[in-house]
Structures are given as structure tokens and as C-alpha cells.
Symmetry: C2
């Protein structure tokens, strides 16, 4: 009676039906918006529902329809601005299409990713968007596809089987910035990434599990080789996972006799730490060291000097992944699509022609 009293047991269609004096089936038709009902009955049921403050149970609905209206998203780390911005793109599209989003962080750990996917399938999500931690360990992704659920991959692709994939043109971007540095006279360029191998040594791009990074490194390597530079394999530095590690790598690198005259940072967290470290060491940017970073984080525009970056369409990446997924959810059944979004080279004052180093 009292509308403010705590509703312990929730109101069901049966309750509404009883109050409206119709059958459960009819009440369900009105409440669920399907089938045909007379206006008189519709009004009665609607009124009863309002009076009882009826709240549909989406869970029960999902049971019979088989659709949960939910999309599962597995990303490395929502704290990372890259993922949080992509996530915004995903949620915006999902919401508009009538889906809610369940978010799980994998921490870039494959076993956590597997557990996440298992959980999401148990929750009967209608589809998944995953940013796979490793491109070499994807059996769990294959299972998703096998279960008949649409899957879209974000920022990292799997060539092994057909799914929708959205990536940026990392390879071209890397080629572009590398070419630019070479044109400025740089003959020793270091590339820093968080990716790692067991022995922390880079041999071939095949060692790199993260697709976006692998593509960048391929672009970097091929451009350097074209220009006849070497030994380019030793210019790739791995394991810059946390700022402290990045700092150590940067210090070792910049204090060496044959230090690089330019550094490409694979993400803005690394870029920031390189910036700090070079300042701490006393190297001036860009006179002593040129710096280019992937991802145009906020801070890159306000440092002195501001940092040259490769701007990725991060929001659009998430948006597109969600869009492709929603299309599948709405019945599209064509072959797997790969969408490559363009990056933008934002040139700022952190690069200049190479200094002549003492030998």
C-alpha cells in the first residue's frame, strides 16, 4: 500500500495480472510489448503495473529469449587512458544499441583473460570485445567463436581465424616517424616497448605478442633497413612495463657512449618516463635527444618542449569495434572484417636534426 515501504519480494507479471484481473499471459503481452491486446486491457495492465511499481526482471527474460542484452569487454587495464577512451567509444555505441557492458581487466595476462572470457560466457553475454594479451595463445578466443557468439578484437588482431578486427595503421605510422627521424639525420634510433620476451632480448617481430606493437616494430625495422642503418635489432628495448623499469632502461641507454640520438616510445606512459629521465640526466630535448611517442596523451602538448606524437583514433577504435559487434548481434553474418583506422602525425618541438656525437 505505502509506496515508500521497502519492497522485499519483487513484483512479478503474475502479481500485475492478478491485480488487473487478466491472465498472466495477457499481462506479459502488455508488459513485454509483444502479441496483440485490446486497448482496454492494455490500460488496465499498465495501471496495475504502475500501482504495484512493477520492475521487469531482465534475467528471467534473458532465460527464455536467450539474449542477455549484454556485451562483455576484456581489456588490459581500464586505468590506461588508451583503454578508458576506447571503452567510452564502446559504451556509447552499446548504450545506443540497447546493450549494457560488463567490463573485466585482464592485466595483459592470458590466464586472467581466459578466466574473464569463461565468466562472461557463463553470464551469457551476447557478444564480446577483447583486446587479446597475446596473439599466440588464442584457443579461448576460438572457443568463443565456436560457441556461436560474435567476437570483435580491439587494437590487436588474430590472423588465425575470422573475426571482426579493428586496429590503427600502426605499421605505416611507425614507418612515417622513423623516416622523419632518418631525414633529420638520426643514425641511431631506439624503440622502447612494454612488450617482453623471457630473456628480455629482441630477435624478430615474431617475438612480439601484442599485435599493435609488432606492427609498429615491423615498420620501424624495415624503414631503418631500407636506409641501410644497423644493427637495428639491438635498438629495440623491451620490458618497459612500469615507470621504474622504463627509467632504468632509459638511463642505461642514454648514459652509454653510443647513445641513441632519438627515441620512439611505444606508448605515452613510456614517453613520459623517457622525458623525465632525459631531463634528470641533463640531456636537452630536442638538441641532445629527439623524442617521439605513440598516443597523444594530455601532457604531451604542455611540456617544454611539447612532444611529437602519433595520434591514434582511440575513441573511434572502440566505437568501431562495438559497431561491428552490434551489426553481428543484429544478424549480420558475413566474413570477418578488418578495419584499419588512420593515425595522425602530430609534429611538435621535441624533434630536431641529430647532434654530432663525440666518438
Amino acid at each position: 500500500m505505502d509506496p515508500n515501504s521497502p519492497q522485499t519480494a519483487s513484483v512479478t507479471v503474475a502479481d500485475v495480472a492478478r491485480k488487473a484481473g487478466v491472465s498472466k499471459a495477457t499481462a506479459a503481452r502488455v508488459l513485454g510489448g509483444y502479441g496483440t491486446v485490446s486497448d482496454r486491457v492494455r490500460d488496465a495492465v499498465t495501471a496495475a503495473a504502475r500501482a504495484l511499481d512493477y520492475r521487469p526482471n531482465e534475467l528471467a527474460r534473458s532465460m527464455t529469449t536467450g539474449r542477455s542484452g549484454t556485451i562483455g569487454v576484456v581489456v588490459g587495464d581500464i586505468e590506461n587512458p588508451f583503454f578508458s577512451l576506447a571503452m567510452r567509444g564502446i559504451t556509447d555505441v552499446a548504450r545506443q544499441a540497447g546493450f549494457t557492458v560488463i567490463l573485466i581487466n585482464s592485466g595483459e595476462d592470458v590466464s586472467a583473460e581466459k578466466a574473464a572470457i569463461r565468466t562472461l560466457i557463463a553470464k551469457r553475454v551476447d557478444g564480446l570485445i577483447v583486446s587479446p594479451a597475446k596473439e599466440t595463445d588464442v584457443e579461448h578466443l576460438r572457443e568463443v567463436v565456436g560457441s556461436g557468439r560474435p567476437l570483435a578484437l580491439l587494437d590487436r588482431g588474430i590472423n588465425a581465424f575470422e573475426v571482426d578486427t579493428v586496429i590503427a595503421d600502426d605499421r605505416q605510422a611507425a614507418e612515417g616517424v622513423t623516416r622523419q627521424l632518418i631525414a633529420l639525420g638520426h643514425r641511431h634510433i631506439a624503440y622502447l616497448t612494454a612488450c617482453d620476451t623471457p630473456d628480455h632480448l629482441f630477435r624478430t617481430p615474431g617475438d612480439i605478442n601484442t599485435g599493435s606493437v609488432r606492427r609498429r616494430i615491423e615498420g620501424f625495422l624495415s624503414t631503418c633497413r631500407e636506409a641501410g642503418l644497423g644493427p637495428v635489432e639491438h635498438w629495440i628495448h623491451m620490458g618497459a612495463v612500469i615507470p621504474e623499469q622504463t627509467r632504468q632502461i632509459a638511463e642505461r641507454l642514454l648514459e652509454a657512449k653510443d647513445r641513441p640520438t632519438a627515441i620512439i616510445a611505444s606508448d605515452s606512459v613510456i614517453g613520459l618516463e623517457v622525458f623525465k629521465t632525459s631531463r634528470a640526466i641533463g640531456l636537452a630535448i630536442p638538441d641532445d635527444l629527439s623524442l617521439i611517442s605513440f598516443h597523444d596523451a594530455d601532457w604531451t602538448a604542455v611540456t617544454s618542449p611539447p612532444v611529437t606524437v602519433v595520434r591514434q583514433p582511440v575513441y573511434q577504435l572502440g566505437e568501431m569495434a562495438a559497431r561491428l559487434l552490434v551489426e553481428r548481434l543484429n544478424g549480420f553474418a558475413g566474413p570477418g572484417r578488418e578495419v584499419v583506422l588512420q593515425t595522425e602525425f602530430v609534429e611538435r618541438a621535441s624533434i630536431s636534426s641529430a647532434p654530432s656525437l663525440p666518438r
Copy 2:
């Protein structure tokens, strides 16, 4: 038969039971891990489940247990570093406690917030964490509490009814930074916030709907008044919602004859824009203008000069909110708790003694 064949219809307990030669009830006991079963039967069922690649349907389970194992989170904007970091804290705690998280952005819009909460209740989330857009419009939150679902508020409190609330000591922090600026000789300090009123004019703290900001402004106002400064109400500038608006406000402010000698930015997005604008106008920080920002975003440490900030324990804010909620979910039924986490004053080179302005 073929384990790689697409599983169209999913395997149910009944299927497993049939294969194991036991009743549905017994198979369910093994699979659900409840009741008592003999080892022999357990093995048989487990083997059958493995052979069929049985995947539990969490939805069906939720139907009878009434618990969905899901927490709903409503934040202003996941793209904002503040929320994404808090979200990380929430998801970490939730995952460890065995819950998954559904995320919805409200865009700081109350009607979107209402829709979000309605959706989450329809999905039968076990509990909610909300960062309410407005503290004055909270009937929908009251309904959540009325429905018997635990609710925890993040960063913004509602005094109206008892729920768990986690906030930072914004008031004290604001008092501290204001006192500091006054001690440095500043007699005209501007405070910029994204909050707004219909006519963009500030009158009393009661106009501010966002709790954290209101508390800061209260601290700012009282400290200024104690020091005998005025007209302090005119020093509060509202509506800095997007960078462009912030720039306009900052320009108008800094180009005026009686410009402030210090600015307090209510968040790092505003702080960044003020920094850019003052540089564009040609005002030197800190000689011409002192700048303090709330939220120690990445970039604040690398600008020239680096920016003095109030560091909020953002991750911990989310962590604590989730922790309080999980406690309730596990049966805790005490009165609403308010947790206030300490902020930290990080003094950097962006503040100095006030310049003497021409009159």
C-alpha cells in the same frame, strides 16, 4: 562428438545427468558444488561434464538464488582519468570478491543516471556504486535503497539518507591550498569549476550539486573570509565543462584589469587548460600567476614549471567503495558509513609570492 564442432544448443545439467546416468538433481549437486554426493558419482558427473564441455548458465543460477554476482557502477565519464582509476579500484575488489561489474556512464546527467539505475535494477545487480551527478535530485537513489539493494556513493555524498559513502577530505584540502596562497600574499584568488547553475552565477555553496566540489568551495570561501578577503563569491567561476569553455573563462579572467594572481582549478582538465591559456596570453607561471590544481594527473609533473596539485587517493576511493559494498553484500547490516580519505598537498614550482599588480 567432435569437440571442435560449433556448439549451437548449449549443454545443460540435464544433458550431463543423462550421460552420467544419474538424476538431474544429483548432477546439479556436483556441478553446483552443494549438498552431498558420493565420490563415485562425483567422478562420473565430472567426467560427463568435461566430455560434453558443459558451461554453467549463470543466468539460470541467478534466477533461483536471487543473486546475480554483479555490481552496477554508474560514473560520470569513464574517459575521465579520475573515474577510470577509481574504476580500476572497484573492479579489482569486485573481481577478488567474485563479482563482475557492469559499467554505465551518466555523462553527469541526472536523467541518464536514472535510466542507468533502472537498467541495472532490471538486470538484477546485487548492489550499486554511484557517483551521483546531483546531490539534490536523488529520488532514484532512494528507490535503490528501498529495493533492498546495497548502494555505495563514490566521491559525492548524499546526506538525505543512510548509505555508505566514500569521499576525499576535499574541504580540508581546499582550506590548505587557499591558506597557502594567502600566506604567499595573494589577495585575489579565482576558483574554476565545471559545475554550473542555470545562470552561470555563483551565490552560495548550496548551488553546487556535486558534493566534492561543494566541499572544496566551502573550504575556499571560509578560508578567504577568515583572512578578510572579498568579494569572494565573485571569485568562483562556473561552467568550465569542456576545454573550450575553460579557455574562454580563463582568458576573460586573466585579461581583466583586476585579474587574480592565483587560480585554483577544480580538476586536472581545467588545470591543463588554464596552464595553456596563461602561456598563450603571455603570463608567466609562477611569476605572474600561481596555479594549483586538484588531481595529480600525469602531466602536472612534467610541465615547466611543474604544477602544484592536491593529490587525491583516487584508486583507493574506488577500492573502498567496492569494499564497503561487498561487506554489505556479505551480510553486513549496520548503519551507513562515511569514509573520508586523506588528500596530499604536492607542492611544485607553479606557485610563488603574489606579484604587485598595477592599479
